[in-house]
């Protein structure tokens, strides 16, 4: 199936004007793939039909929105990144009396809990607040619940160890049937809330912002906007951590950051 470009743009425009969600800044191939998948699942043959369904029924729109915006992640994804955070960033963060962190686009929360574990082991979780945001409400609910499939734990334990974890990973969760529930003490300092990077504004000032594997879904313009938003939301000498394949190159603020770890994509705001 191929999506007609005109009809595709009309659909995004209609979604934006009717519901306030702007997907026009997203990289197209992926959005189109997801729309085709959604249409296939619901046996919808024409984009125009999808559009009228969405505009007629907000519940259908909500369902479609989930499909369009869901992302997946894992605990301690790219262990080298977390190792670098432990070695190059945490010590500096520990000098602040109160640490504010934003995990932007946290998906189902695995990396938020990873960061909380890392902070706990560094002895700074108690005086930190981690704001974890995502556009996708269903993902956020999973993140809030902190319950994950037990079958992933073996791989996550490996990641944790490679990231330089100093304890035993299993001490952070309880197993129940085929799920594990992460410890309440990790959650105490995490605030989960909805935030749409494509449209919403800054809401606080942070010492650390993590936004991993989110920018790759955006076109250059939207990447620039979001990098501006991060620059404006970081305190001086605050840190920004991106995904392994992301960089500041489309931002207007490249020179306002210094590379802390080039390979792991960790930057520090210097002006």
């Amino acid at each position: 199936m191929e999506l007609d470009n005109g009809a595709f743009r009309n659909l995004l425009k209609a979604v934006h004007s009717s519901y306030g969600y702007d997907f026009t800044g997203y990289a197209e191939a992926s959005v189109k793939r997801r729309i085709i998948h959604y249409m296939g699942m619901h046996r919808i043959n024409e984009l125009a039909d999808l559009q009228s369904l969405i505009l007629r029924d907000e519940n259908i729109f909500r369902d479609f929105l989930q499909e369009l915006s869901v992302t997946v992640t894992e605990m301690f994804r790219d262990p080298g990144f977390y190792k670098s955070l432990r070695e190059k960033v945490v010590e500096r963060l520990a000098t602040y009396p109160f640490i504010k962190v934003w995990v932007a686009g946290c998906a189902t929360g695995e990396e938020v809990y990873s960061l909380a574990i890392l902070f706990k082991e560094a002895g700074i979780l108690d005086r930190s607040v981690i704001y974890a945001t995502d556009i996708n409400q269903q993902s956020l609910q999973i993140a809030k619940d902190g319950m994950y499939d037990a079958s992933s734990m073996k791989a996550y334990t490996g990641n944790y160890q490679k990231s330089g974890g100093t304890g035993s990973f299993s001490q952070y969760y309880m197993s129940k049937y085929n799920s594990v529930m992460f410890d309440r003490s990790l959650k105490q300092n995490i605030v989960f809330s909805a935030h749409n990077l494509a449209m919403d504004k800054a809401f606080n000032e942070f010492q650390l912002i993590l936004c991993r594997n989110v920018l790759i879904y955006f076109n250059q313009e939207l990447q620039k906007r979001v990098l501006d938003l991060f620059h404006g939301s970081l305190c001086m000498f605050g840190y920004l951590g991106l995904g392994n394949k992301e960089s500041l190159r489309f931002g207007a603020q490249q020179r306002s950051f210094e590379e802390v770890d080039r390979k792991e994509r960790i930057y520090m705001k210097i002006k």
């Binding site: 191939a29 250059q220 394949k245």
Partner: protein, 192 residues
């Protein structure tokens, strides 16, 4: 034979056994091959750039991992980064995603082939090599539906026959050949 057709890009999908098959193909590409070659080879996320280094040792063309938003250039061999799906935009740039694995794979051959089919249409050549699953079969069909040329490695030659066999079973493969025959075909593609 390619005849007078102007092809614009080659896409290759490979899984188990793919390294040696890719070695052969790359070693036998004409020295000044003028099309981009975009490869999805299944591999572990921890392998970083090992595959690029190994393949680079077999060819004078530039071998590199595809970067997000990078413009696709002639005469360069691109590989999907481990742990990411590689997608091709209609403006012939790359996108990466961390969406769910497809056919247990990320990168997935299907995801790359399906988006390449739309971007290049009849200008595309899609090749499925050895592999122990069926990733790439849906992608081959898509390439064929959009007028591209489709090739599968002869399952009798492939170290792991199921991937080319699954592609052939879609009835969308125009040419089944040995690595030698596939290389001969590629060497006859006219300059663009």
């Amino acid at each position: 034979m390619p005849g007078g057709k102007r092809y614009e890009a080659i896409v290759i999908g490979a899984s188990a056994g793919g390294l040696h098959a890719l070695f052969y193909i790359l070693e036998h590409l004409p020295e000044k091959f003028s099309l981009p070659v975009i490869i999805v080879q299944h591999r572990m996320a921890e392998q970083h750039e090992l595959l690029e280094e190994l393949l680079q040792s077999k060819t004078g063309m530039i071998v590199k991992q595809a970067d997000e938003k990078e413009s696709i250039e002639k005469g360069i061999i691109y590989l999907a980064p481990p742990g990411y799906h590689l997608l091709i935009e209609t403006d012939r740039t790359f996108s990466l995603t961390v969406d769910q694995p497809v056919s247990y794979s990320r990168p997935s051959v299907d995801v790359m082939f399906e988006t390449a089919a739309v971007a290049y249409r009849e200008g595309l050549v899609g090749i499925i090599l050895t592999g122990a699953n069926r990733d790439g079969a849906a992608g081959i069909k898509r390439i064929s539906d959009y007028g591209g040329f489709t090739i599968a490695q002869d399952p009798a030659e492939a170290q792991f026959p199921s991937m080319p066999a699954a592609a052939i079973a879609t009835k969308s493969v125009k040419k089944v050949g040995t690595l030698k025959e596939i290389s001969f075909f590629l060497s006859k593609i006219p300059e663009v």
